[in-house]
Symmetry: C2
Subunit: 198 residues, 2 copies
């Protein structure tokens, strides 16, 4: 790289690596607490080099949140095409969500902290509500089929189920010794058959 190229400040960041650094900063300091100046300092490139890739900070947030949401909806579409009853599809959705969360941990972490302060955040919350609606419908379907217990309100059951899944962002560390597939098994086993020995 020539000195001039270094000054121009584009040491090979593509949109993908830029997005990863931005999401890391958003999770560390909050979106509201992260300026484009902060991002430029962390990346070691100029702000104009960042604007080469995205139009605004909100654009970056939207891309990051969509990375999590697109994954969830791709999974929901997969589940939709799945044969089998509501319970089987729900189990598939739960396991798939755990694997997705592990695979896209910083993006899902960001999504779960969104409070709706910006247009990108409100759009993400609307899509999250849509996904939660799909989960609630599957739970209600499985209760109707007689496969899930009817003494727990389906809306509450759906929330507890994904409350457990989503809580992984608080403690799961990709460099730890719990494998993603084992974690998906543990979540599904706990939620559907319970921790107690039968």
């Amino acid at each position: 790289m020539t000195a001039a190229a270094a000054r121009r400040g584009r040491p090979g960041y593509d949109l993908e690596s830029l997005l990863r650094v931005a999401v890391g900063l958003f999770n560390e300091r909050g979106y509201d607490g992260t300026s484009m100046d902060d991002l430029s300092r962390r990346l070691g490139i100029s702000k104009s080099a960042i604007y080469h890739h995205v139009r605004s900070r909100d654009d970056l947030l939207r891309l990051a949140l969509d990375r999590a949401l697109d994954g969830l909806f791709a999974l929901a579409a997969e589940v939709e095409e799945h044969d089998g009853g509501a319970l089987e599809r729900l189990e598939h959705l739960v396991r798939g969500s755990v694997l997705l969360l592990v695979d896209r941990l910083p993006f899902v972490t960001l999504l779960l902290r969104v409070r709706g302060n910006t247009p990108a955040e409100r759009a993400a919350l609307a899509r999250r509500r849509e996904f939660d609606g799909l989960v609630a419908a599957l739970v209600a379907g499985a209760v109707e089929d007689g496969d899930l217990r009817a003494d727990i309100d389906p809306a509450t059951a759906a929330r507890l189920l994904f409350g457990m899944v989503n809580s992984l962002v608080e403690w799961y560390r990709p460099d730890g010794d719990v494998r993603a597939a084992d974690l998906a098994d543990a979540v599904a086993a706990t939620a559907f058959t319970g921790l107690r020995v039968r």
Copy 2:
């Protein structure tokens, strides 16, 4: 109240009501995003009237976090004195935690969002880790007793269990139609016997 008293600005706030307003603001804007000026504006009293009750903003945070933590440790002490095996004590701890969370929702919400940026936050995280250790020990004890399934690592099981409990702060609304006791039953039933019909 005389005009002079109104100007002095203490329209009957005691420490308790002051603390509730402060916690509400901390949850809304984050602790870092809430200044004593913000708090003074929200309360409609002067900063010196606030300093009549507490020495600093960090003091307020510490009081608020202790409100949640003291409740958890009182519960743990109660469980300690409980006769019965580890599973029975664990179930008691889970139900009690749900009831405590509902009863002290804003305080527990604040506690669960703490990231360790100030001395009060680091002290709270240390106490949380101690509580998590108690939970993990009870889970391990119940596995040893043969009452909880051994195919899920006890540390993971403990985290999933309290992940589900703690997720309540994300959606539980005290003015909704789910009663606290029903919620405690739903959490215990889901975690220990599972959602699936046997």
